[in-house]
Amino acid sequence: MFLINCPFCGERDQSEFSSGGEAHIVRPKQPTELSDDEWAEYLFMRKNIKGIQFERWNHVHGCRKWFNIVRDTSNDKILSVYKMGEKPPVNYK
């Protein structure tokens, strides 16, 4: 059970949060211009990495804010937490 450092509320138990999958997938600005394959890439394709992964989380039973984290899925260590709209930390890739 993770301890997640909500950028708005501080450290809270994982049970207060819900996970929103892979981060930094931007909704295309002009979906109608996309081919079926390109749209499918946005819609369905998600990474499932063993190692450093960028994820969206929502403090659903708290401030209800969305934010991003960097997590090492091999040991579940959360390496960084940052707000929506902020650039991902560069030292992980």
Binding site: M1, G20, P28, L43, N58, V60, W66, D76, G85
Partner: protein
């Protein structure tokens, strides 16, 4: 009655005699006993039958690892508990226990016949044999297995006990109250760290607390005496919490642990009453010290499972802690020094014993001591067989060959009434691995050890592979100082004298002249798997330990292989000719020992099981005899039976009344989201399929919401209250998810939009009045409101006061009738409802529930998201293309509506179905076909909604059917168990296609 209690100890209170029943017979023990020690004191070893062969089995251990002595406690239907380990259960007055897994009784067991047909029950027996013939399953195998096997009986009535949960936070958690745990806890607490020490036993001290060998001393005292002092000292530390009878069940990431505290299991029944039985501790600790200790290993030889064969160290504990000897003529069979401690203890109490040691020779302080006491030792010998049916009475030993692979020379037969075995020690690395830690293998004594200790977790003591006392104390002190970054000097000058073990020899499967196929060398006592089974699995091609484990069921019983996993691994490695460390281990899964469901559930039982949401009109519904339906967490009136009506009759009456005169529905549970901001219209444009910019103020519009994959997600009516203010309604079940989805898009995709969302579902109560007389009822309630179609047309919104209280009134309809929804602040909801009922009396205003609502909307072909849709339906599939804007550049899900898959013509599409026999009501979920003769039958779709319509006097149904749009008028078949029902595809709208009733 025999008495094997041969001396007094400080842990047994001989002034407090306790009577208990075992298998119906009354015995006596003392306060301080476990059920196992009390049974042994009464000379009882035989406590059960093995699972597969029904061989007689006895008590093996004195702790959580016990595979055999598991019993059923009590016989009451609500309180009886199966699979309780007698070695852990503290004795109390009036305890009733019985042996499990034996029928008709433990001494005469019919399943014992399996023992004689055991060559027919090899590994994978159940997989191989019970496959065929199929008919044998129901008639022969299953009844037999059920009768003669099984591990105890579950209670059949609800558990009346109270359970509790508690969250705690500590700087340091120490798991295990043996010598290393006590030292760690003391060091942490004395350095101002808030510390919790847990131990599963009644008292602290581990196995050192009853240690009484003169060659093991700390500061010139017996180690047990020294430790008692330490315990007295730590009890004085104010920031140390000590929890005994508390065992860690699970170790999750981020140092989150679950512990079970037993509060009343040791008390007599009358003292248990009204007390919390068990408490689940949810612990967050900054740092965790694992001092979980180690478990003695059995040895694997022929017939190593007879009653009277125990772990050597358990014999020692029963003797020195409980004052009970396990026999009068004991043989100890060992490959290490620890059995010598047992031997010396027995000798000192006058119990005759000899040692069989498979090491060629060995020397240490302990061995010298045993030799000087004249204890007979057979070095380089191995036990090859044991005898005695209900209890061991003799055994055979033979000399080992030079390489240890075979036996040589003559058999020597030795009589005995008890055999202690010691195959070395297995560090309890469960907690370490549960938390994600890796293991290393130490060849020298064949143990898995924690590989690395992280900055927030450490293993100390024998669970870290440190076995002699000097090693344990020195290493623990050094490691804890480093781990906690402190400089504790308490143990700087502690002087430790102990015997050092110098010689080791381990053989996982001991050699025998008898071919393996004819031996019974048990590895897993509880699941009855033998060395032969493991070898057979390997022969049949199994390689992975996880597969061998499942195929042979080794380590899969309630003890989770605490005594058997290492031997299984060892034998696999030896047979496959690989190094044991390279095989890995099986996964150590929580819980460490079984938990009761009660502990896991805690207080969340009965009415606390789940949150229940009630509308402000709820009491009226109850008073008026409503039957309720659960919709999400909401309790919604389902129908209101009158004068003993059944559901069908009530729904027919309610539906007719709503169309003929007036009906009223509690619609408060619909989700309501208040949407404000200068970009509110733009936001709605993006989340609904239709256009919103041009919706006039004080008008309402129906909207359909898709997922990004183009599938219908939710629907509802949204009202424009003012320029930048909307009120959205959602389905009852979808309310929370819709709000989350909208927030997600606002925060992550469109943060530039000026929009604010507030859930107001609970803030407003809603009474929905429909039917031709609804306008008259409204007029009585709101005499000043102009209800004319010109002033207040369909799909519009007004505000008015009801006795000075503001109401929001929408003229919208989910039934196809003229209909008004009155919203009022929730605290006035009950009054509003009663005033509506009163005003409607003269018009036979009939309260109706969800079932009638579903019927009425089905007559009109209105969908219910989640009933007629299932996450695979597009608006076009629902024949709702009219609601999808062609002009809007984008909205959620738009692009997906013309993917190659969503534009297929042969998707399942919503249609109406009419049965050829108008009285025949279809079953929702029934399959639809066009041809019952072809094989396999081609399934075209299924029925989603089905009712008998009293207004049309015929059965109607909605269904999704492949290419349904093009099938109007076509005949289809609904094949049921006993008949085929003929239907015709129809329009989805069954009543009032012209929408005349909306303006009736």
């Amino acid at each position: 009655m025999p008495n094997y209690r041969i001396h007094k100890t400080e842990y047994i209170d001989e002034t407090k005699r306790v009577s208990f029943k075992y298998d119906g017979k009354t015995y006596f023990g003392y306060e301080g006993d476990t059920l196992a020690s009390a049974l042994l004191a009464n000379g009882i070893h035989l406590v059960g039958r093995s699972f597969k062969y029904h061989r007689p089995r006895g008590i093996v251990s004195c702790g959580a690892e016990e595979p055999n002595a598991i019993c059923q406690i009590g016989s009451k239907k609500d309180l009886t508990e199966p699979n309780v380990r007698a070695t852990e259960l503290e004795l109390y007055e009036g305890l009733e226990a019985s042996s499990q897994n034996c029928w008709p009784n433990v001494k005469f067991d019919i399943g014992g016949i399996n023992n004689f047909i055991s060559p027919l029950i090899p590994a994978g027996f159940y997989y191989k044999t019970f496959m065929w013939p199929k008919s044998f399953w129901k008639k022969v195998y299953e009844p037999l297995i059920r009768l003669s096997a099984g591990l105890g009986k579950s209670p059949t009535e609800p558990d009346p006990d109270i359970y509790d949960h508690k969250y705690v936070h500590y700087d340091v958690l120490v798991i295990g109250g043996g010598v290393s745990g006590i030292i760690a806890a003391k060091m942490a607490a004395k350095n101002n760290l808030k510390t919790l020490l847990v131990d599963d036993k009644k008292i602290l001290g581990g196995s050192t607390i009853y240690q009484n060998n003169e060659s093991i001393k700390i500061d010139d005292k017996l180690s047990s005496e020294w430790l008692k002092n330490e315990i007295q000292e730590i009890k004085k530390l104010s920031n140390l919490t000590i929890k005994t009878r508390t065992s860690i069940a699970a170790y999750h990431g981020y140092n989150f642990l679950l512990a079970k505290e037993n509060l009343t299991d040791h008390l007599p029944e009358e003292k248990k009453k009204n007390k919390i039985r068990q408490r689940l501790w949810k612990i967050r600790a900054k740092k965790v010290v694992i001092a979980a200790g180690s478990i003695e290993r059995p040895l694997v030889f022929n017939n190593n499972d007879r009653p009277g064969i125990l772990l050597s160290n358990s014999i020692n504990k029963y003797l020195d802690y409980y004052g009970v000897t396990c026999g009068e003529n004991i043989i100890l069979f060992t490959n290490n020094d620890s059995a010598y401690e047992t031997s010396i203890s027995l000798h000192k109490k006058g119990i005759k014993n000899i040692i069989v040691d498979l090491r060629k020779s060995a020397s240490s302080e302990l061995i010298k001591q045993a030799e000087s006491l004249g204890i007979k030792i057979y070095f380089n010998h191995v036990v090859t067989n044991t005898f005695g049916y209900r209890k061991i009475n003799s055994l055979e030993i033979m000399k080992l060959s030079e390489d240890g692979n075979t036996t040589v020379g003559n058999k020597i037969r030795l009589s005995c009434d008890c055999l202690g075995m010691s195959g070395g020690w297995t560090p309890m690395v469960h907690m370490h691995t549960q938390s994600g830690g890796k293991l290393d293998f130490r060849d020298e004594d064949q143990v898995f050890l924690p590989k690395e200790n992280s900055e927030d977790q450490i293993s100390v003591g024998s669970c870290n592979g440190d076995f002699d006392l000097e090693n344990i104390i020195d290493k623990t002190v050094n490691k804890i100082n480093k781990f906690l970054d402190i400089d504790n000097q308490d143990y700087q000058d502690t002087n430790i004298i102990c015997s050092k073990e110098n010689d080791k020899r381990n053989i996982w499967l001991l050699p025998n002249k008898i071919p393996l196929g004819k031996t019974k060398c048990f590895i897993d006592f509880q699941n009855d798997s033998t060395a032969k089974d493991i070898k057979l699995a390997l022969k049949e091609g199994f390689r992975s330990i996880e597969h061998v484990k499942r195929y042979t069921t080794t380590g899969m019983a309630t003890d989770q292989g605490k005594l058997s996993n290492m031997h299984a691994l060892g034998i696999i490695a030896d047979t496959a000719g690989v190094k044991m460390g390279t095989l890995g281990t099986t996964t150590f899964r929580p819980p460490f020992t079984p938990l009761t469901f009660g502990t896991l559930v805690g207080r969340n039982v009965g009415k606390f099981f789940e949150v229940v949401r009630k509308t402000s009109m709820h009491e009226w519904h109850v008073e008026n005899n409503a039957e309720f339906e659960n919709v999400g967490q909401w309790k919604r009136p389902w129908y209101y039976p009158k004068n003993g009506e059944n559901m069908h009759d009530a729904v027919q009456r309610e539906s007719k009344a709503a169309r003929d005169s007036a009906g009223i529905l509690d619609a408060s549970t619909l989700g309501k989201i208040d949407i404000q901001g200068t970009d509110a219209s733009e936001f709605l444009n993006r989340v609904y399929t239709n256009a919103w910019s041009k919706l006039a103020i004080r008008k309402c519009r129906y909207g359909l919401m898709l997922n990004e994959d183009g599938m219908v997600y939710d629907d509802g009516v949204t009202t424009r209250i003012s320029e930048n203010h909307y009120l959205m309604t959602t389905t009852t079940g979808g309310a929370a998810n819709v709000l989350s989805k909208l927030e997600d898009y606002l925060q992550t995709e469109w943060p530039e939009l000026d929009v604010y969302l507030t859930s107001v579902t609970d803030h407003y109560s809603t009474a929905s009045i429909c039917g031709p007389n609804s306008k008259k009822i409204l007029n009585k309630l709101f005499p000043n409101l102009d209800l004319s179609d010109e002033n207040f047309p369909h799909m519009s919104f007004k505000e008015d006061k009801l006795k000075n209280i503001n109401c929001r009134i929408m003229r919208i309809s989910f039934t196809g009738e003229l209909s008004y929804e009155i919203n009022i602040e929730s605290k006035y909801g009950h009054s509003l409802w009663k005033m509506c009922i009163e005003a409607g009396k003269e018009f036979n205003l009939t309260p109706y529930g969800t079932e009638t609502m579903h019927l009425l909307r089905a007559e009109k072909g209105f969908i219910i998201v989640g009933q007629d849709t299932d996450g695979t339906m597009t608006p076009s599939d629902l024949q709702m293309d009219w609601i999808v804007s062609k002009k809007k550049y984008d909205f959620i899900g738009k692009r997906s509506l013309y993917r190659s898959d969503t534009i297929r013509e042969d998707r399942k599409q919503l249609v109406g179905l009419l049965t050829d026999d108008p009285k025949e009501i279809l079953e929702e979920g029934a399959q639809i076909v066009s041809d019952v003769k072809s094989k396999p039958i081609d399934m075209l779709g299924h029925v989603t909604s089905s009712y008998f319509s009293p207004n049309l006097n015929k059965s109607i149904a909605l269904a999704v059917v492949r290419s349904g749009k093009t099938m109007k008028g076509q005949k289809l078949i609904i094949p049921m168990e006993n008949k085929n029902i003929n239907v015709t595809v129809s329009d989805t709208i069954f009543l009032d296609k012209e929408n005349k009733r909306l303006n009736a």
